[in-house]
């Protein structure tokens, strides 16, 4: 170790204290000479004689100095700087070439750096908690292959009784806590608004090992069920809503109209989960405390130091096994999944991001191939220069080194430019990215991104620089010096090499284009899917009446508001729903005719549950197929009624008349409801997923969650023009109601944000790839035409027609294109399998996509090679031959 350090120190000294070193060397040699002279004097020689003898004995001092310097590797470094100087000069001499090469590589490096900066922030950088590796999530898992696997999206959630058993029986956890978060109405001061709020169980903050920067965590009293509770606030909320005032402690925030004094402030950056602003002690309903099927919570845990994940997982599995035996009616085929939090957070996006990184990497390879062909062309032009240098005694290694230094310089300039591009690029990526992508705010340029950029700059410089350099250095001195013009004997080899590079470029472009084609076709299919509702011109206003959930006051607010909205000009119809299409807020087992005992609940079919106001179906454009919509007579003291969708009828009542049947579901109450109507199916979980059975209930008969509804209003024109009116109407009715506006179109767009993101990016990368490949084809053909202008001139002099010359050149281009196409298609068919999980109604081996890619690439090649071919065809035989 210290030896390396010594060497480094000496090398640095050799570079930076060069004069000193040289002076010392002089002195050392002078001393040697002096000694020799003294020796001579001792043997009785005269001073002058002794001096001559000594000098003779010592030989060439200059050479000795040079060799000593070599031994210190000073020359190696000197050479490098000389090469660098030369490279800079040569870049300045041909600015057009340099600019083009830098531009191509900067695009490639910039795009890669941008994508990597996202991958780095989302996938690679550890979470910013203390010991992030010890933080895990605990979730209910349905055992794969069992009867009801994959039925409900809520399977990840956990029930409180199960959690208590996990917590009490496990031994590898330092802390384990349940929580759940949502948007809640909160009022700090005068402002009623939605903020992220999370109810947390005991030990929640211990899991993350955070300490409040102000105040204290909840006391045992505050945690107790039924107590008044208090709130912890995030640093950001403290700053924005309380001005960062240290007197904020004890001030009151109203949540659902109830007062919560502020107990403490969390440190900056802590906002688990989903950038929570307010944490309050969890209030577990009696049902949630009782039923193991009530999976309404999430859980996190902190492993004890040094406990491997597998050990914790094994222990939890055996606890779950015991629970399964003891409570088969609720826990049959259920187990616990222990997942590192980071893995759990990025589970869905990992494949997408790595695919994008792969795609953008392919673009970089194409850029490298392109720059390599450019350099090859330049190397040809420099054959004579290289030959002269070789003739003057430069070794092959020395020449390669000099040429590689030039590409190194190129790569560094391109890397710097690419870094700049990536700065905007990653900002654009963040803007485009679906909001579900975790940790997006952390995207930025850190030392890992810088290392990555430096790494790919170096690697690419070798990739695109080495081949041309090796080729150029292989110059045959005799022949090259004899040649008069710029053309050279090695051109034949170079043409082949460039041809191969272009084949590689086309093949890579075909792979990217095929991937993009599949994604685009899939995205179009997603766009054209029958949603079951009409999203155009529907305004959505989410509002929460800040009263406890089951209160009649809330229903009154929405009833009044809906009555007013219905009479507004420009409103076609209006309603209100707990869950606008796109999200399922609640689901449960559903039964017809009777409610079976609890042990049968697990195996019953699942239906989405929704609470709606009369008029909602009309407002959303959902057709009523049989029976009727809810109406204002469906009130609490009338028999409970339900409207079901066709999927539910198909599943539970095939071939029967559903009207008049009774359904039961596990909602706020378990009362039977008479089916009064059947509506068309809606894709409730976004366009990509099939409709599931759904049971609609009316808001006046079901108080659960009735204080929060989304008003939906279908308008004649742009729905956004209605926002101000609705806000005013709502505030007239109740001033402390927080509201949030969106449109059905925007919700839908948000729903397909992830596929749009990857389709768009893949499309951009494929477009870039095709452009680069096209430039490559053009460059190679133009070069080949120049090289062959003599031959073509001769052919024309001998009577070849313009058409035949055109064909001659185009044929060469098409051979390259078809080779590239064949290779690329083979690779694409093998590679696009990776996309399978992202494709909607499109198979990865869709023949039309590949056909389209083939035709497009063929056309592009023709266009790119037509210009050089045209030029070849207009060569004047006389001029061409006279050049010889």
């Amino acid at each position: 170790m210290s030896r390396w350090f010594t060497q480094l120190r000496l090398t640095l000294r050799s570079i930076f204290r060069k004069d000193r070193i040289d002076q010392e060397l002089d002195e050392e040699l002078q001393e040697h000479l002096q000694r020799e002279i003294e020796e001579g004097l001792k043997t009785g020689l005269a001073l002058e004689e002794a001096r001559y003898a000594a000098l003779r004995a010592m030989g060439a001092i200059a050479k000795s100095k040079e060799d000593s310097r070599d031994a210190r590797r000073v020359n190696f470094i000197d050479d490098f700087f000389r090469d660098l100087q030369y490279a800079t000069r040569s870049m300045r001499r041909s600015p057009g070439f340099a600019a083009l090469a830098v531009l191509i590589m900067a695009l490639g490096i910039g795009a890669n750096t941008a994508v990597f900066s996202v991958v780095n922030a989302v996938l690679l950088r550890p979470l910013s908690y203390r010991d992030p590796d010890r933080i895990v999530t605990l979730s209910t898992r349905v055992i794969a292959g069992s009867a009801d696997s994959g039925q409900s999206s809520l399977d990840e959630q956990i029930s409180i009784p199960n959690f208590q058993d996990w917590h009490d029986q496990s031994s590898f956890f330092e802390a384990m806590a349940y929580y759940n978060g949502r948007e809640i109405p909160a009022t700090a001061g005068a402002l009623a608004e939605y903020v992220r709020g999370t109810q947390v169980g005991p030990e929640f903050f211990q899991v993350f090992d955070v300490e409040p920067i102000l105040g204290h965590f909840f006391t045992a009293d505050e945690m107790k069920q039924g107590s008044d509770g208090s709130a912890m606030i995030s640093y950001a909320y403290w700053q924005s809503h309380l001005g960062g005032d240290t007197h904020a402690l004890g001030q009151v925030i109203h949540i659902y109209g109830r007062p919560f004094p502020i107990a403490g402030v969390l440190p900056p950056g802590f906002g688990f989960p989903d950038k929570t602003d307010l944490w309050v002690p969890a209030r577990v309903s009696p049902d949630d405390q009782k039923y193991r099927t009530a999976q309404n919570w999430l859980a996190v845990g902190r492993l004890k130091s040094g406990v491997p994940l597998e050990k914790a997982q094994a222990e939890m599995s055996s606890i779950a096994g015991r629970l399964e035996q003891r409570y088969p009616e609720s826990d049959k085929d259920r187990t616990v999944g222990v997942t590192r939090m980071q893995d759990q957070m990025v589970g869905n996006v990992r494949v997408t991001l790595y695919l994008l990184l792969g795609a953008v990497g392919a673009v970089l390879l194409i850029a490298c191939a392109n720059t390599a062909t450019l350099l090859l062309g330049k190397a040809t032009a420099r054959t004579r220069e290289v030959a002269v240098r070789a003739a003057l005694g430069a070794s092959r290694r020395r020449i390669v080194r000099q040429l590689v230094t030039e590409s190194l310089l190129l790569a560094f300039v391109a890397g710097a430019a690419g870094l700049l591009l990536s700065y905007w690029g990653s900002a654009a990526l963040v803007a485009l990215a679906p909001s579900g992508l975790p940790r997006l705010t952390e995207v930025g340029i850190d030392r890992w991104v810088l290392t990555f950029t430096l790494g790919i700059s170096l690697t690419t410089s070798l990739l695109f620089g080495l081949v041309p350099a090796l080729y150029a250095s292989k110059v045959d001195l005799n022949e090259a010096l004899k040649q008069a013009g710029a053309r050279s004997v090695i051109a034949g080899g170079m043409v082949r090499m460039r041809g191969l590079l272009v084949v590689a470029e086309i093949a890579l472009a075909v792979v990217l284009l095929s991937g993009a084609g599949l994604l685009i076709k899939s995205f179009i299919a997603l766009h054209n899917v029958a949603l079951g509702y009409q999203p155009e011109n529907v305004l959505v206003m989410r509002a929460t009446v800040p009263v406890p959930m089951q209160a009649q006051a809330a229903t009154g607010f929405f009833q009044d508001l809906l009555a007013k909205i219905a009479h507004l000009p420009g409103v076609v119809s209006a309603g209100a729903t707990m869950a606008p299409p796109g999200n399922v807020e609640s689901s449960s087992a559903i039964f017809v005719d009777r409610l079976p005992p609890e042990k049968d609940w697990l195996v019953a079919p699942t239906a989405a549950l929704s609470v709606v106001a009369p008029g909602t179906f009309a407002a959303l454009g959902i057709p009523v197929k049989r029976g009727r919509d809810f109406n204002d007579d469906d009130v609490p003291d009338r028999p409970p009624v339900a409207v079901v969708n066709e999927a539910l009828v198909r599943k539970l009542l095939p071939g029967q008349n559903p009207i008049g049947k009774t359904v039961f579901c596990l909602f706020d109450n378990f009362k039977g409801m008479t089916i009064v109507g059947v509506v068309g199916d809606v894709r409730q979980r976004g366009p990509a997923l099939e409709p599931m059975p759904e049971c609609y209930m009316t808001y006046r008969q079901h108080g659960f969650n009735g204080n929060t509804l989304s008003v939906v209003a279908r308008t004649v024109g742009d729905p956004n023009t209605l926002i101000a009116t609705l806000r005013r109407l709502a505030q007239e009715t109740s001033p402390d109601v927080p509201m949030k506006f969106t449109t059905m179109d925007a919700t839908l767009s948000e729903n397909v944000a992830a596929p749009r993101f990857r389709t768009l990016l893949f499309g951009i990368f494929a477009g870039l790839a095709v452009c680069l490949a096209m430039a490559g084809v053009y460059g190679v053909m133009a070069f080949a035409v120049t090289q062959r202008s003599n031959e073509i001139g001769l052919r024309m002099a001998l009577g070849a027609s313009t058409g035949s010359v055109l064909r001659l050149v185009l044929r060469q281009a098409l051979i390259c294109a078809s080779l590239g196409l064949a290779l690329g298609l083979a690779a694409a068919i093998a590679g696009t399998r990776l996309l399978t999980s992202m494709l909607f109604e499109v198979q990865p081996n869709d023949p039309w996509v590949y056909l389209a890619v083939g035709i497009l690439l063929g056309l592009v090649t023709l266009v790119a090679s037509y210009v050089p071919a045209r030029r070849a065809a207009t060569i004047d035989p006389l001029t061409a031959l006279r050049q010889e």
């Binding site: 030896r3 090398t11 001393e31 040697h32 000593s68 031994a71």
Partner: protein, 109 residues
């Protein structure tokens, strides 16, 4: 730029390491000592000596220090580093093996 052959180069390194193992020495003294110790058979010219010294210093096997010599002039004294001591042991063993092998062949001839 002809360089000494590997054998000579390697041998010179070994000789230098061995010489400075005794005590710190300046360049001229090293050449002189080698000349003496080899019963005046080996003559090391400065054109080979100084590049070798600088190479060994660069490798971290010997280190240099400017001191006042017995003649009261400034001279650059070289001494062995711990790494150099290890290298010397290895090189010496290597040499024993090699010279033994060569001798064996030469004698049988």
């Amino acid at each position: 730029m002809s360089k000494p052959t590997d054998l000579v180069q390697g041998t010179l390194d070994l000789l230098i390491l061995k010489t400075v193992a005794l005590e710190p020495m300046h360049g001229w003294a090293i050449a002189h000592r080698i000349h003496q110790m080899s019963s005046e058979v080996l003559q090391v010219g400065q054109s080979a000596l100084y590049p070798a010294l600088h190479k060994l210093e660069q490798q971290g096997w010997i280190e240099a220090e400017w001191k006042i010599s017995e003649t009261n002039r400034r001279a650059k004294y070289y001494s062995l580093t711990p790494a150099g001591r290890k290298a010397l042991t290895a090189e010496a063993a290597n040499w024993e093996r090699l010279s033994g092998a060569i001798s064996a062949i030469v004698r049988t001839g």
